[in-house]
Symmetry: C2
Subunit: 132 residues, 2 copies
């Protein structure tokens, strides 16, 4: 319960790996996949997603790869999670709200309270703290 997804896990592995290298060197999906025993395709998609969100920059062609371009201490863990996995919450009733139970539901407000606590917590942690 309350697990992070593989996608986030692979993203963190890759970021951490990149941070341990010099700033201008590129890291390919292959390199990370091989070194950490992670599925290449899925990792690649995740890297692409991070590039799309301007956390990484992608360079195509052979000798290509990715490098970190964002200031990781400016990105909250909450934002990071949401970039990769969408809205962060313990229940979905508050985002799409097509929940049919919403009329006679007695826990919407209390759960929202937990939610806010959790979002606050992840808002206060930065990506840098995790990958450094």
């Amino acid at each position: 319960m309350l697990n992070i997804t593989r996608k986030v896990e692979y993203a963190l592995i890759a970021l951490r790996h990149m941070q341990s290298k010099s700033d201008n060197t590129l890291t390919s999906a292959n390199e990370v996949a091989k070194q950490y025993g992670v599925p290449r395709e899925l990792l690649a998609k995740t890297l692409q997603q991070m590039a799309h969100h301007n956390i990484l920059e992608a360079v195509q062609g052979p000798t290509g790869g990715y490098k970190i371009v964002a200031e990781l201490d400016q990105i909250s863990l909450k934002d990071f999670f949401e970039k990769l996995e969408g809205p962060l919450g313990m229940m979905d009733c508050y985002f799409d709200s097509d929940c049919v139970q919403i009329a006679n539901c007695n826990i919407r407000v209390p759960i929202q309270r937990i939610n806010n606590n959790m979002r606050d917590m992840f808002s206060q942690m930065t990506l840098q703290e995790v990958t450094q």
Copy 2:
């Protein structure tokens, strides 16, 4: 991401419902299932589980049901979640530790840090705060 399970959701609905009633009245699974449009069987199992953990007391036979016997302000949300769903963590590597990647994994420590923050947060919230 980081969603709670239906089981926990149903448990909270039931607890909240019970708290709105006088202390000695019993609440049956049927009553809650009907009122909140929740699957009876699954709810029943959840109530049984809470009874097993001495949060509720069960009374058998017709006119039977459940009532709250624990001090809800003495039960942390962390304990509650773990009673219902088992160990609370963003990755399982830290509990069973049969993870084959553990040798060349570069995010075990950082994730554990996030984990601790999350566990701390849920340790500080009580069930009472949520169901009151």
